[in-house]
């Protein structure tokens, strides 16, 4: 059922093969027996440890994570439960250490400490280890039933958030708090709190009602800090509790979504960045003046910004690839928009961006100013999620956390239509009329070359499709002389009829190509059989794992990885120039898959002038 192949090499490309943890993807459909066997099998290194035990196995972290999840998946039987705390290796010499505090053999795999403080896996696991009594968790009542429900979070819960189209601005479920069963059932919580334990943001529920819960989280963090250490991750059965400390701001994610620790931490980083974008890092000074400072009023009206960012973690690959993506456009059109944006920048504008939803049409920056892809992501999320920008021209202070986290820039935002908007950033607070004038100049160019309708057409047509990939010989026939969109072979050229319902040639379902040098990626459109939002999300999660394992520190650089489970065959190929992530039918032939990947790369290179923004000089960071 679940097989993995870790020693493949696309021989045709001459890359080296790399060995990886042969760990399966414990997806939602994974067979119980299988996963149980696996958990017994794989879990052994961590399960033997009873009580406090430190395991300096930095490189095994990933494997252990998977085991934890797997054991939680084996819903029945006496699979013991491992609770592990990962801390910074402040005490240990080498990197990260794995602390395996209490893997008590509980009757139910996920149950914590015999149900004393059941619904708070964090604190119970933690308390179990340190022996500090459950003062921090006193808000909870022992409740076995609700413990069960936490485990079964996927029964109902936030199905709405699983559909991009169903995303509604603003926070939902404000009526919930940590005593609500529905709140506890949520698969993924995000919290921002201050170092005095005051709630700042919670994905679900009313922050003020969660004061007790925030205090609990704060207690955990500060307890470890008092020991001269830092808590990064607590694992409790299926749940991971990820911590991120940013000065006086604490960020916590509690998740049973089976995402990697690295990605969850990356999500907290982005969440923090989004907050900085709204308030700048000078917020730290408020806490210096008054440790009990209440920050919630300062974030008033931004719930939609955060909820849309959290939503994007499940559909926007930019959140883990740390690259941006462009709307496919004819080269000449992108050039002409680029040059007007460059003109605008020459007149004292720091950054000029023409965007279409979350994709870049063109952008330019003042000399020596560079925009980080993460800043771009946060900026477009901010603008796209705030309805207010669409009503008229707006002028708003924003901060680019990667550019300068201390200072505000002023952003002029104007929507040309429902999807396409311009953002002009400047350091001058009095530049509104100048920026408005720049926008008028840009608009004139857009109208003249009819760019807005081309953009609309490109949205409608979508990007590259796996069905359109030429098979072997056809590739030679048609070198991309089509100066027409990135969406090249439309109509008769399509091979849809050959491969209808089965994705592209040789079982290729989807791919993402990230150009390292451009900091951009191109992702193929989803096509059958990956059609529902749930399937897409699951594929992204598989990619995220792949990404994390390829970029893991300490395991050496990996160049290729081929991984097969019951859902996909995944192939990843990393070179100094690009990274390719491709998903195939699980039954796809490996040799053919490797050939296909070479073709994808070749195809992307042929189309690079249309799918990438070339020669954006300020982007050479």
């Amino acid at each position: 059922m679940t097989t993995s192949d870790s020693s493949s090499s696309p021989s045709s490309s001459g890359t080296e093969s790399a060995d990886l943890n042969p760990s399966s993807d414990p997806g939602t459909n994974s067979e119980r027996v299988q996963s149980q066997l696996e958990s017994m099998n794989l879990s052994q290194p961590s399960e033997v440890s009873d009580g406090s035990h430190t395991d300096y196995g930095g490189g095994d972290d990933d494997a252990e994570e998977e085991e934890e999840v797997a054991s939680a998946n084996g819903n029945e039987g006496g699979v013991s439960n491992g609770i592990s705390v990962r801390e910074d290796g402040l005490a240990g010499a080498s990197g990260e250490e794995e602390v395996e505090p209490s893997s008590s053999r509980a009757e139910h795999p996920v149950e914590m400490e015999a149900g004393e403080e059941p619904p708070s896996p964090t604190s119970s696991g933690y308390d179990g280890e340190r022996g500090s009594s459950g003062g921090a968790t006193s808000t909870y009542k022992a409740d076995d039933a609700s413990e069960d429900e936490i485990r079964e979070a996927n029964v109902d819960g936030d199905t709405a958030s699983q559909h991009e189209a169903a995303w509604l601005p603003g926070k939902r479920h404000v009526d919930e708090d940590d005593a609500s069963i529905s709140w506890r059932k949520r698969k993924k919580h995000f919290f921002i709190l201050s170092n005095s334990g005051k709630p700042i943001y919670s994905r679900y529920g009313d922050e003020h009602k969660l004061a007790g819960f925030s205090a609990t989280l704060q207690a955990i963090i500060s307890f470890v800090e008092n020991g001269g250490d830092r808590v990064n991750l607590v694992k409790a059965g299926k749940h991971q509790v990820v911590f991120l400390v940013k000065g006086p701001i604490y960020l916590v994610c509690i998740s049973c979504t089976d995402e990697t620790y690295e990605y969850l931490r990356g999500q907290l980083d982005l969440l923090y960045g989004q907050m900085i974008l709204i308030l700048t890092k000078s917020i730290d000074r408020c806490f210096e003046k008054n440790a009990k400072f209440d920050m919630t009023p300062l974030l008033g009206g931004t719930e939609a910004v955060f909820s849309s960012l959290v939503h994007s973690f499940s559909w926007n690959p930019a959140t883990f690839l740390h690259a941006y993506t462009c709307l496919p456009l004819p080269f000449a059109l992108r050039q002409s928009t680029g040059s007007i944006l460059q003109d605008v920048c020459a007149s004292g504008v720091l950054f000029a961006l023409l965007m279409c939803r979350h994709k870049v049409v063109s952008l330019s920056g003042a000399q020596k100013a560079s925009l980080h892809p993460d800043d771009l992501l946060l900026l477009s999320n901010f603008v796209m999620s705030s309805e207010s920008f669409r009503t008229s021209e707006s002028f708003s202070p924003i901060c680019l956390p990667r550019y300068n986290p201390q200072a505000f820039l002023h952003a002029y935002v104007h929507f040309f239509d429902d999807d396409t908007y311009v953002m002009l950033l400047t350091t001058r607070s009095d530049a509104f009329y100048h920026l408005k004038d720049c926008r008028i100049r840009i608009e004139a160019v857009l109208l003249k070359s009819n760019i807005l309708s081309t953009v609309q057409r490109s949205i409608a047509e979508g990007g590259m499709r796996v069905e359109d990939l030429p098979i072997d010989r056809r590739l030679r026939q048609k070198p991309s002389s089509t100066s027409n969109q990135g969406q090249d072979t439309s109509g008769p050229e399509r091979l849809r009829d050959v491969s209808v319902g089965t994705g592209g040639p040789f079982g290729l379902w989807h791919f993402m190509y990230r150009s390292i040098y451009l900091d951009q990626y191109i992702s193929s459109e989803f096509s059958p059989p990956v059609t529902t939002h749930r399937q897409q999300k699951s594929l992204y999660r598989a990619y995220q794992k792949l990404y994390a394992s390829m970029h893991e520190k300490g395991l050496g650089p990996h160049k290729t990885q081929y991984r097969r489970d019951e859902n996909y065959s995944l192939l990843c190929w990393v070179t100094p120039d690009f990274e390719l992530y491709a998903a195939f039918d699980p039954l796809a032939d490996k040799a053919m898959a490797i050939k296909m990947c070479n073709q994808v790369c070749q195809r992307v290179k042929e189309l690079e002038n249309e799918v990438f923004l070339q020669g954006a000089s300020p982007f050479s960071w």
Partner: protein, 200 residues
Amino acid sequence: MASAGNKNINAKLVLLGDVGAGKSSLVLRFVKDQFVEFQESTIGAAFFSQTLAVNDATVKFEIWDTAGQERYHSLAPMYYRGSAAAIIVFDVTNQASFERAKKWVQELQAQGNPNMVMALAGNKSDLLDARKVTAEEAETYAQENGLFFMETSAKTAANVKEIFYEIARRLPRVQPTENPSGMVLPDRAMDRAVSSSCCA
């Protein structure tokens, strides 16, 4: 500022007030004749322009709809400096928003342009049952502080046009030029702050 040339007046107008008082709703009703029940929070400030014909002149309003959120308060001077007019909006169903409005009036009296035309708008006047601030109370306050007061409803459009007309009528007819409409040269923006302090 307002500029008179062939009875064409350009006037910068700023809306101030608490979160949720209805500043954006008032402007959208005035400029686009639209109303949405759940208007989203304004980010930073939104810019609109709208032209009104009064008896003796054509007034082109350049309207700054500021965000009521606390984090934007420090930006307010950027918008009310150099304004010819201000509408301070409060929600008649919310006493706190009325108190907040009084604070804005104080700030404008202390920092703003002395000749500024100030209007106090008691918005959401359609919500009769939920009223917390009486018209008399607001009227008295307005008279004491040299503002004119109107109860408005962006939802029913009651008094929305009227309050802007009334401002247009009260605007001084001769004023120094600022930001001529249409084309604004890049460095004009710098002049705004300067010209703001020299209204005759």
